[in-house]
């Protein structure tokens, strides 16, 4: 089947495209807005900000979250900060530089026009969040403070201690709460979207499962926005929250939405290493720590001394050595791979030799303990609670872990998927980060999509539906999809095998981590595809879910999510296998320089892979959106 991958990029020079779009877009007049119903699934940064803004504009909005409250979304865990091109420090930043850094950081695999728009609205985000009462860090004079982050040579990151995501999400949640209180947004909590419904070639609504009663219900709308986050939990161990999952995006994919660049996953360099086999998740230590911490390993693989006993000349500050101009602030993909190499070479530290040191001794000596405490106190406390070690006295131990997924549902410039009327925002879409996301850019993108992009672009679609009848939830297609979902969940209970969903998830995660993690090769990916497929068959025969489907059943919820992770996992490997180059988070060992740097192939692979579901998870169809660069010139990414 052919697939329309027209990105609908507006006319004009790159820097004018967004303004041209706004100048020429079709609007819905204020009194007509209440005739349109928009469903927003997910209430993280992108979802809450979109739902609140739609409500303010006068649309009828229904927001769905599977949490008990919108305030729980995983955006809350982001620590380090949010980028903007304010240039408050006067260190040479500009919209163009933020745009360029993001395209370069993404290893020239992002869509230029989307990234430029992101950089343009970044400043408005900061203004908006401050007006809402987000307590960003300030200098003594009362003005906003900035810090630097990986992949940039300017300080453009705004932060609220180590809790920036929390404060921004609370800001968006406050806006959403106000709209709920005013009756402009109806909130459905503890409701999980389990499918979408398409009628006459457009998305007509969603089917949900009530997590408290197990009941299925249909909800129709003029447009549906999925702001349901990324799929990093496919690795089982990741920095994602326990319930982060791919189900909403995957079910949309199965109903016709193309899934783009699934192999682009980000492995974050600074997480606390795994301590034992039954570990349920990994904890991130903010990248901002790399501003003041120095990363090193002992020179000798046989090192047995504690960190403080190892003299300077027997330490390898490998990032500073290999990447002198960016040093400890090299981008995430580069830093992660470097750490893996050190550990693979036997130079790892800690009881399992599975980490590298992140050492603050020099910074404490230079700045004093109180400054370090002010900057990172809550992170140091968290580290101590988890490991039982005090990072003011002994260096932290860190290791890369799955953290973010750049891939996601394919969207055009207006953030619409290949299904008309179905939009994807935030981490759920693929659009802005290319093959690698820079630190402090996820919060920026989530808020950009929700506050400043969707509210403009959605009227392009809605205006065409004015005064046209749309099917309501009693339409037979809703009934059909609802019944399919009901049967699917009933089946998980009926299998009555021997192993719970976590058992399968753990095994699936290990396959993906081993073969489609920090480095990949063709043989490994082929093996992974066959292993995942057989494990999925085993899942279908041997899954055990206890309890009932008539009240809260977290085991049943998990079973549905793991089922979808299997199919996504296969698509990831398929995508990684097809992309015969190394770029950003996708590192194919066959394509590297002698000193281990990624080798991109712009001739053949400067495209977005957009996969179409065929019914067989091992035989998806690949479509390509060629990436055209008007302003940026391809170059080899170097942080040396």
């Amino acid at each position: 089947m052919s697939m329309n991958l027209d990105a609908n990029i507006p006319e004009g020079p790159l820097a004018d495209k967004w303004q041209n779009f706004i100048a020429n877009e079709r609007l819905v007049n204020p009194s007509n807005k209440r005739k349109f119903k928009i469903i927003v699934v997910g209430t993280g940064l992108a979802g809450a900000s979109a739902a609140a803004t739609f409500g303010e504009l006068g649309y009828e909005v229904e927001a769905f979250t599977f949490h008990d409250s919108p305030r729980r979304a995983h955006s809350i865990s982001a620590q380090g900060g949010i980028n903007a091109a304010k240039n408050y420090p006067g260190d040479g930043d500009s919209v163009h530089r933020l745009f360029f850094d993001t395209v370069k950081g993404g290893d020239f695999r992002a869509r230029e026009a989307n990234v430029h728009r992101l950089a343009e609205v970044s400043n408005e985000i900061i203004d908006q969040m401050v007006a809402q009462g987000v307590p960003f860090a300030r200098e003594y004079g009362g003005l906003l403070d900035n810090r630097s982050f990986g992949g940039a040579q300017v300080s453009r990151t705004f932060y609220a201690r180590g809790q920036t995501g929390q404060q921004l999400l609370i800001g968006a949640y406050q806006q959403l709460s106000r709209q709920i209180g005013l009756g402009n947004v109806k909130l459905w909590n503890r409701m999980e979207m389990v499918d979408i419904v398409n009628i006459d070639g457009r998305c007509a609504g969603i089917v949900c499962r009530d997590l408290l009663t197990g009941e299925f219900s249909s909800h129709s709308a003029h447009a549906v926005v999925l702001a349901t986050g990324g799929y990093g939990n496919v690795f089982y161990l990741s920095t994602n929250a326990m319930s982060c999952n791919v189900t909403a995006a995957w079910r949309a994919h199965r109903r016709g939405a193309a899934f783009a660049n699934p192999s682009y996953t980000q492995i974050h360099p600074t997480c606390i290493p795994q301590a034992d086999d039954f570990q349920s998740k990994l904890t991130l230590m903010s990248e901002s720590l790399r501003n003041d911490g120095r990363i090193w390993v002992p020179v000798s693989a046989d090192e047995t001394r504690t960190a403080d006993q190892i003299p300077e000349d027997e330490r390898d500050y490998y990032l500073e050595r290999i990447y002198p101009s960016f040093g400890n602030l090299a981008p995430r993909d580069v830093s992660s791979r470097a750490a893996k190499r050190m550990v693979d070479a036997g130079q790892g530290v800690g009881p399992l030799k599975n980490g590298v040191y992140l050492d603050f001794a020099d910074a404490i000596e230079r700045l004093g303990r109180s400054t370090i405490e002010e900057r990172y106190g809550n992170l140091f406390d968290m580290y101590e609670r988890i490991t039982g070690e005090n990072p003011y006295e002994t260096p932290m131990r860190i290791y890369p872990a799955s953290h973010y997924t750049m891939g996601g549902l394919w969207v055009d410039y207006e953030l619409m998927t290949t299904v008309p009327g179905l939009y994807a925002a935030g981490e759920a879409n693929f659009s802005d980060h290319g093959a690698n996301r820079l630190g402090a850019s996820a919060l920026m993108q989530g808020l950009s999509d929700g506050y400043f992009v969707l509210p403009y672009t959605i009227s392009m679609y809605l205006s065409k539906l004015l005064n046209k009848p749309i099917p309501d939830a009693s339409h037979e297609e809703f009934t059909k999809v609802e019944n399919e979902a009901r049967d699917r969940f009933a089946n998980y209970l009926a299998i009555d095998g021997t192993q719970g969903p976590d058992y399968f998830h753990r095994k699936l995660g290990k396959i993906i981590w081993d073969y489609c993690g920090m480095d990949r090769d063709a043989d490994g990916l082929r093996k992974a595809l066959s292993d995942i497929s057989s494990l999925h068959e085993e899942f279908k025969k041997d899954l055990k879910v206890t309890g009932s489907d008539k009240n809260v059943n977290q085991t049943l919820e998990k079973a549905g999510r793991v089922d979808d992770f299997f199919e996504l996992g296969m698509l990831m490997c398929k995508d990684a296998l097809n992309r015969e180059e190394s770029c950003g988070g996708h590192f194919r060992v066959e394509y590297q320089t002698d000193d281990g740097e990624a080798v991109r192939n712009d001739e053949d692979f400067a495209y977005v892979s957009a996969w179409e579901w065929t019914g067989d998870p091992l035989e998806p169809n690949e479509h390509k959106e060629q990436l055209e660069y008007e302003v940026v010139k391809f170059q080899t990414r170097s942080y040396k």
Partner: protein, 256 residues
């Protein structure tokens, strides 16, 4: 890594809001001290599933102490024995071999039990909806640096804003009061210059909504002791002052 042995878990099971609950006892022969308390429950749940029994329902998500989802009384203390620590960040090294650990849901009339350890904290959202915000619709915000905010002000605001909305303060309070939660939000916004326009309206609306659901504060201070973010009960004084002012202040003359 040290292995703890012979841990007994006495845990609350309750089928639904209207059914009678009971304690159930489970033995954990061995557990690493590196395990988090919730990982102990994960292991127990996997065992229950293998035995064909229903897993224990409990709310949890980020496991980084920031989303505020986890909520349990451990040995009678909200979030357990470690100060300034949410349940998900509590590790087994806090316990010893041979311990009997009693696990219950949040205890508060305003937070009815849904199942096992899961409770309904929706009243917190209702309080937020009447005033826990600054009215600043999207678009048209002035430049972020236009109003300098002194560092001590922003720091105090941030201290209050670090509330994770978990409900430990309510669970720990003998009266089931939500004063610390409500005061944290009011203090976060009322200290800021941006929050002044709605300062008294906010305090009045949020306090009165709180009183519809929760008990009254009688200054026990248990909330502060239980708070995983160590939010100070000084915020309650700030809230009380703003609430009483809201009753007699002429709002046409905010600056006087």
């Amino acid at each position: 890594m040290t292995i703890l042995t012979n841990i007994t878990i006495k845990i609350w099971r309750q089928e639904g809001p209207d059914t009678e609950g009971r304690f159930e006892t489970h033995q954990i022969p061995e557990i690493s001290d590196e395990a988090s308390f919730l990982e102990l429950l994960d292991i127990l749940n996997e065992r229950l599933i293998e035995e064909g029994k229903e897993a224990i329902v409990f709310d949890h998500d980020c496991r980084e102490g920031i989303c505020g989802t986890c909520s349990m009384m451990i040995d009678g203390q909200a979030h357990g024995p470690q100060k300034g620590t949410a349940t998900c960040q509590l590790h087994m090294r806090t316990f010893s071999s041979g311990d009997e650990i009693v696990v219950e849901p949040w205890r508060a009339t305003a937070f009815p039990i849904i199942k096992d350890l899961m409770v309904d904290r929706a009243p917190f959202d209702r309080i937020m909806e009447v005033g826990g915000f600054i009215t600043a619709p999207t678009g048209g915000a002035p430049d972020a640096n236009i109003i300098p905010i002194p560092k001590p002000v922003i720091d105090a605001s941030m201290d209050a804003a670090s509330c994770i909305g978990c409900g430990a303060c309510v669970a720990a309070c003998p009266n089931g009061a939500a004063n610390l939660f409500t005061a944290a939000k009011i203090t976060h916004l009322n200290l800021l210059p941006q929050g002044q326009a709605e300062r008294y309206k906010r305090a009045e609306a949020m306090v009165e909504k709180m009183d519809e659901y929760f008990g009254s504060c009688t200054n026990h201070g248990e909330c502060e002791a239980a708070c995983p973010k160590e939010i100070s009960i000084d915020t309650i004084a700030t809230m009380n002052v703003d609430y009483w002012k809201s009753k007699f202040k002429n709002r046409q003359h905010l600056d006087r």
